[in-house]
Amino acid sequence: MLKTFFSNWKRRIVQIVSLGLIGEWSFYGIFRCPFAVPYIGCGNCPVIQCPGRSLWLWSWILIGGSVLVFGRAFCGWICPGGLVSEILSMGSFFKNKLKQRVSAGLAYGKYFVLTLALYFFFLAQNPRWAIPIRTGDFFKSVGLTFEHADPIWIYKTLFVLAALGLGLAVPMFWCRFLCPTGGAIEILSRFSLFGFLKNARCSDCDQCRRRCHLETRPSEINCVQCGDCKETCKPNAIEWKSPLAPWLNPDTNFGSGQAPSADRTHFL
């Protein structure tokens, strides 16, 4: 299991470095952010200890840039939540047992959560659902935040934790089915310059799906451009190419059994 986990060691190194850079902010967003939607508009947050106050703007600019270049690579290479999900999913007992149709349906949950987040942020002016513990001893502050939070903040936090925890059963449950950031990136990744794509040699053997921790295939929904599947592809049908310039990739297959000229609705 560990051997598989570290097989793509470059990605693990990037993930560990990212964890060091933005991991603390991720943790604050879940456990101490008093607002309905965390990680956005952090510049004025009263929680003065949160590193997001100085990180948030540049982080989002960089994430936006990375999406346009590499699609959903942020989820697979940078996101600390993604790393936690992967670790939790190492021993999932429903691995590859969810029917593809069910999985594809559940994946729309991301857009529902994203819609809710957009509503709360833009229309409800991101309400404050917890007392901000401005500064304090870490664990005590988390305890105080829970103690004095509105019930809705507690439900929201438990929902996120439960969804992350469900990764123990269904691999990457949060990332595949509920993460609103992943949902937003998935939509924008339609316009990305590069990504892993299947070429005409693809025989639909699904080896890549079985290897994938998100149980998907290159260029399909939930592909996070991790590249873990590349080595498992016997016909060498997975390539790093530009989906925006199919004429440069004449033998590229954009989906299951589709011709190179097929549309790319599978991105959503």
């Binding site: 004025n44 003065i48 309400p127 404050r128 007392i131 304090g136 004095h148």
Partner: protein, 284 residues
């Protein structure tokens, strides 16, 4: 005469040496006596910008470690009163809270710490030409209010506007009625509103530095409850000497600058002494 003069000289010399030695050993003892000791201090979250540098200076001076928590005093006080949490030093807003903790025997004693000041804030340059709180009733003045923020930022500001007779117009002309003063101040600093009633400390936060201007509000409009802050030793203080030394340092002249820089009136300044008498901040 000569003998007298020598005696006096010898006396002054010996006295100076003794005083110097005393001060040196005293200072050395103070500096070293709390090394590797730790103290848990809580305060109202509004004081965090003042406490953080003051705590750091105390740590440098004594070698003690201060585990500091700053959050809405109402919430912290509730935890302390209900017994779900403990701390060694507590600096709450609202005199009544300190008195309740004293009455329950959870706070051993307290001292006046500082006072907040409410002001009318405008964007830099004061584009609407606000001259005082009365102008919040002008039809052309866009206000920004936070009625659902925690009471010192929300309710107190509304009371001030009510006492000044501008609340109806201010509500009517509000571009935003929110639940977070800092979010509201972003709206103001960006020039999307013309005026708001806030605590002066908000205008001193780094994110608003140089982006807001403030005008004083007559004291008669200001409700007394949220104005005074106290600091006291709790019954859970494991090292009362350290707790007392910390409180004394926070109340000292050296710490005043931190509180004044953060927008507060320190209790031991001349204005602070007047307000101490006015609000009756006495540990009876």
């Amino acid at each position: 005469m000569e003998k007298d003069r020598l005696n006096r000289r010898a006396f002054l010399k010996t006295g100076s040496l003794a005083l110097g030695a005393g001060l040196f050993t005293g200072a050395a003892a103070f500096a070293g006596s709390f090394t590797n000791s730790a103290l848990q201090a809580w305060s109202c979250g509004g004081l965090a910008e003042a406490f953080q540098p003051a705590n750091h200076a105390f740590e440098q001076k004594t070698g003690a470690a201060i585990a500091y928590t700053g959050a809405f005093a109402g919430a912290l006080g509730k935890s302390l009163l209900s017994g779900t949490s403990q701390t060694e030093v507590f600096a709450p807003r609202v005199l009544e809270l300190a008195r309740k903790l004293r009455a329950q025997g959870k706070m051993r004693w307290f001292e006046p710490l500082c006072f907040t000041r409410y002001v009318v804030a405008t964007p830099k340059g004061n584009p609407a030409g606000i001259e005082g709180i009365a102008d919040l009733a002008r039809d052309d003045v866009r206000t920004v209010l936070s009625p659902d923020a925690s009471p010192p930022g929300g309710k107190a500001s509304l009371i001030i506007m009510e006492k000044a007779g501008v609340i109806e117009k201010a509500r009517k002309n509000a571009v935003q009625l929110g639940d977070c003063v800092q979010t509201a101040m972003t709206v103001l600093a960006d020039g999307k509103a013309d005026a708001a009633v806030i605590e002066q400390r908000i205008s001193r936060l780094p994110c608003f530095a140089g982006r807001l201007e403030v005008l004083p509000i007559p004291e008669k409009f200001i409700p007394p409850a949220p104005v005074p802050f106290t600091i006291g030793m709790m019954k859970w203080a494991k090292n009362p000497d350290l707790a007392e030394a910390f409180i004394e340092y926070i109340l000292s002249e050296k710490s005043q600058r931190f509180f004044e820089a953060a927008g507060f009136i320190h209790a031991r300044s001349s204005e602070g002494r007047r307000l101490t008498r006015k609000y009756g901040v006495i540990d009876a």
